[in-house]
Symmetry: C2
Subunit: 377 residues, 2 copies
Amino acid sequence: MHTPLCDDLGIEFPIFAFTHCRDVVVAVSKAGGFGVLGAVGFTPEELEIELNWIDEHIGDHPYGVDIVIPNKYEGMDSNLSADELTTMLQNMVPKETLDFGRKILTDHGVPLPDDGSENALQLLGWTEATATPQVEVALQHPKVTLIANALGTPPADMIAHIHAAGRKVAALCGSPYQARKHADAGVDIIIAQGGEGGGHCGEVGSIVLWPQVVKEVAPVPVLAAGGIGSGQQIAAALALGTQGAWSGSQWLMVEEAENTTVQQQAYIDASSRDTVRSRSFTGKPCRMLRNDWTEAWEEDGNPEPLGMPLQYMVSGMAVAATHKYPDETVDVAFNPVGQVVGQFTKVEKTSAVIERWVGEYLEATGTLEQLNAAANA
Amino acid sequence: MHTPLCDDLGIEFPIFAFTHCRDVVVAVSKAGGFGVLGAVGFTPEELEIELNWIDEHIGDHPYGVDIVIPNKYEGMDSNLSADELTTMLQNMVPKETLDFGRKILTDHGVPLPDDGSENALQLLGWTEATATPQVEVALQHPKVTLIANALGTPPADMIAHIHAAGRKVAALCGSPYQARKHADAGVDIIIAQGGEGGGHCGEVGSIVLWPQVVKEVAPVPVLAAGGIGSGQQIAAALALGTQGAWSGSQWLMVEEAENTTVQQQAYIDASSRDTVRSRSFTGKPCRMLRNDWTEAWEEDGNPEPLGMPLQYMVSGMAVAATHKYPDETVDVAFNPVGQVVGQFTKVEKTSAVIERWVGEYLEATGTLEQLNAAANA
């Protein structure tokens, strides 16, 4: 399992692992893949601590940092500082919507913060104003050889800045149209994510999307995302012309991840039909496990989810509750995951996952070789 | 491009083509694939004429017939004859819903039938009562070696009857759960259709669904459906353990098809984001081009689509209108198609499609072989 992109990046396998856990980043890169740390949720100071830790433990292996600058979000044209923008956005959250979020939690026996702080969430990386300092931190770390944007084409000056620092830029897309915009802006690696994918995703399925994006942006390399959880699926991705696989869900299910046992058990119990594309946490369609929180925001007569990043100023309460009560099954938790969740049966070591995927890949491609050989015999 | 299932069925390539056009059935089977005629819409007498024509033109090649017996539909437990069932169901269509359908058409300048017959549609194959005579007709034709059911597990006595006649049974599914029911009932070939697919489909994407179904029912052979429109996509399907590909959308775009130029142009113009899973034509979620008809049934305040087969007693007007005005762009037409529509750029000869797919398949599998060889060098 090796493509030209591996040589460009100095890695053994074209397995890109998106994760919020520094331990997973290190384990993936050390096993021959390419770990990518999701920066959303970290202050620049916290991110600096994480990257320092990774640098100390990852040896000579490269890794990436993933940021979130949506193409469109509330307040994007305001030119305010991060603090000013946060205050402005907090004031834009309707009391009715916030009260509805509070009610879902109290109806489920989840205590609210008693200091009235539930609406005081910071915008840790959800906008250009808050993502830019994260990029500055990342570029101070030479082993960070790739900056990926999860939700749109990065601004032109940011791409130029990252290139000037000798690093590559990647960006996710859900259509050939978005892929074209990325390529025209100078993005080095396009990540085509099918609607199966966990987190923010479009509606076009991977099997259809991947080859369309490959054709659209050739010769720019494309990574396949959405539905990657085995070596067979990577073989399919490479058969469709991509140069590797970008995966997220699988890395929630490794021993090195910080995800709680309750959450991992929820993923093991779920079938592929138990996920939903919902705006109820981030304000943009994002695939996650269906539960009482996501259902409540779908019901006629209830408040509609707000836009990005306003909705997170409401849902952040539910996210905090999940982390606070890790040993209870709280059916209002944020469990972002792709349809590939239906394949999960256990928690594995990160290195065992990579080893399994490589073995499965060789088995799948070996089967194709045998079929061709038999047809020619 | 050859799998063990090809030997079982006596065909060269594991390319299964679903179509309502007898000419396409013949062209596919003669080109080395396996044509399958969709029987819905034909009376038993009409079906007999179609199959006789196919028998005369297909040479020694085998082909299949596709029927529709949904697992659930209005009136399924009634034990009525086909005629009695039709009358009962016609009386179940609310006047408000029928008037709404009429209004959409008249608002678009589409004249209604002037004899009041728009609600007199027959149930041509949408139930067990109406599909059973179609099976009887099919079994009189020895070259029909496969009967497929598009929407559920065929009844046990029907499976036994088809097997007793020495033919195979196939059935579509959208989840491992449905696949298990098919396999337990003795279905010989399971067709796993991802949510990308045209026509009736589930929500799980092909890249995730296919390997889950393969694992669930092994060693029963699985065909991959949903997103098949190139040889690369067939290579991906075989890498995921399926034994072949079941396709429908592509065969709307061949010279031998009866589809109108207007409809084919609509498919060429559409991107993969222009389809929608809608209940507005058949009563069950069915993927098709989004248009004014599908949108009208989504709007708050408008009547909800009825169940299967009642909704078709309303939408049949729109379907008839499409056929009646083939040279006009009528934005209320029924254009079932999968997300793969985004790949279509032209109308081809059927034999050219098969040839192209085989070439693309060999190119894709050749690339994988080269990558493996380079990695081992």
